[in-house]
Amino acid sequence: MKFSDVHIGMLSKGDKKAFLLLYDNYFVSLTIFVQNFGLSKDDSEDIVQETFCRLNQNYNLPENLNAFKSYLYTAVRNKCFNYIRDEKRRKSNETVFLDLQDDLLIFDKIVENELYRQMHLLVKEMPPQCKNIFQRVLNGDTSEKIANDLNLSVETVKTQRKKAKRILREKYSLVYRSLYTFL
């Protein structure tokens, strides 16, 4: 299930289900985002955790999902910044410190992170065989190569590719299209 606009207000009220969705959809990808700036896995997780826990009782959250995502990324970015500054790790992390102030670079990192996050959520919900093949398609493998690698017939691979495409189309119409309507 996807975290959506309606869950944002529920976070403020400390609704545990909304929090479960938030963790399921965003915790890992934000942690990976933070690790981009040279922080350890543990430190990155702590930063995201602190950000998430503060959402409880916070009644000033943006109502729109994209605005809320921006808010999350900005919050972890600021925490990263403070973390490196406070811990006097600045010298060894001079480039990271500059990276964190580079809005264009951050934009790129967020796009990349979001792309992976959305791919991961899509792949997660596919039937196992379909998933296996879909991942290889995204990696640019041809049907022949996939068939060879997985010990399947080319026909099977083509059928599964169609299946994956259909699932994707359904998902798109439900989840992501809503984002584009205002473009």
Partner: protein
């Protein structure tokens, strides 16, 4: 010129990679990509460079938010407690009975069940095939790849196929699908059959004579290859469906009162004992020991399962969970019998986590699902 958020750009790039982008979206993305050298570079990198999803998945696998989620829940409880203590102080000033009430009230709030204890997973492609000589073959090990079971019987992905088989003798095979399983079968005449969890089908490896007869227990969706000279018959005890070529779904579980046949296209006729009915597309028959009825239905509700979905329309919680328990291999109990009469409408993608679905139901009605291992206890909120 519109300012795009990184989330919008990511969505557009993903849509483009999957070829599901619309013309308008593509124009927008290209326009954005041509705005600056920087945009162009990012656009090129994410679109043209091959993205290794395997390693993306591996990275994700290395993380677990569980511990952190639990910790966060504790913090939420704590903040509630502090709040309730504050209220209690005031309540104590006003009246003691009110204090007692508040205490119970807030304590109840804290007993929300955390569901990480759930050990319920969606089903997988799995089956046992019993050959005519009694030999048993386990199907559905996804590492096995394509395999040849015997002569002209082979497995391709999640489908068992019979091809070019000619024998004079009638030899029967039986395929058994366990709870939490499913399998697809393609018979020698080209007929395709989707078998749902906890089902069993007995069929000849090749069809001879003037009819094609198979025996079913449980639930299956048939896409029967047309052959006017040889009608296809599905037999469940004394319930016989006869067709020439069509698509239909049948549900004949021995622990359910009715045998339900839902026709998607073509024409079928049904005989049960001395009763007879014919179905037109969009119609459904329900047959029990003593009665037979035909009605118009939304066929989606009864056939969606073979397309990766379960769809429910104003069905009782008892029916819904009974259906899902076969696929998720879980045991369901109701604390009070009445709870099973609550009605719900909704759909569930078959390969997703059941907990998300149950939580949606919780949000709609005053029920709670307490999950422990494979057991689900339904209680009132």
């Amino acid at each position: 010129m519109k300012d795009y958020t990184p989330f919008e750009i990511a969505g557009l790039i993903l849509a483009k990679r999957n070829n599901s982008i619309t013309e308008k979206e593509e124009r927008n993305l290209n326009e954005w990509g041509s705005r600056s050298e920087h945009n162009k570079l990012l656009y090129k990198r994410l679109l043209e460079e091959s993205i290794d999803t395997d390693s993306v998945e591996k990275i994700f696998e290395g993380y677990d938010y569980d511990k952190y989620y639990k910790e966060c829940c504790k913090k939420i409880d704590k903040s509630r407690r502090i709040k309730s203590i504050e209220i209690l102080k005031w309540a104590a000033l006003i009246a003691i009975p009110l204090t007692v009430f508040s205490l119970f009230y807030f304590r109840d709030n804290e007993t929300e069940v955390y569901r990480a204890m759930a050990d319920i997973h969606p089903g997988t492609s799995s089956a046992v095939l019993i050959l005519s000589d009694g030999e048993k073959v386990t199907l559905g090990d996804k590492n096995a790849g394509d395999q040849i079971v015997k002569d002209n019987i082979k497995v391709e992905s999640d489908t068992l196929k019979y091809e070019n088989i000619t024998t004079d003798k009638i030899a029967y095979n039986t395929i058994i699908i366990p709870r939490g399983g499913e399998y697809v079968l393609k018979l020698s005449d080209g007929t395709k059959i989707w078998l749902n969890a906890e089902s069993e089908l007995k069929y000849p490896v090749s069809f001879t004579g003037n009819e094609r007869r198979v025996y079913l227990k449980g639930e299956a969706f048939f896409d029967v290859t047309k052959n006017e000279k040889s009608p296809f018959k599905v037999v469940s005890n004394d319930h016989v469906i006869s067709v020439l070529g069509t698509e239909f779904s049948i549900r004949a579980y021995s622990d359910e009162k009715y045998i339900t046949t839902t026709l998607e296209s073509g024409k079928v006729s049904i005989d049960a004992g001395n009763r007879h009915a014919e179905l037109l597309p969009g119609q459904q028959s329900n047959v029990s020991n003593s009665e037979m009825s035909v009605k118009d239905v939304n066929t989606q509700l009864y056939t969606a399962w073979h397309n990766n979905k379960y769809v429910f329309d104003n069905q009782s919680l008892r029916e819904i969970l009974h259906t899902l328990s076969r696929w998720y291999d879980m045991d369901v109990n109701f604390e009070k019998y009445d709870l099973g009469d609550l009605r719900f409408t909704g759909e569930l993608m078959k390969y997703t986590n059941i907990v998300d679905f149950l939580e949606k139901l919780e949000a709609l009605e005053k029920v709670r699902f307490n999950i422990n291992g494979k057991n689900v206890l339904v209680t009132a909120y």
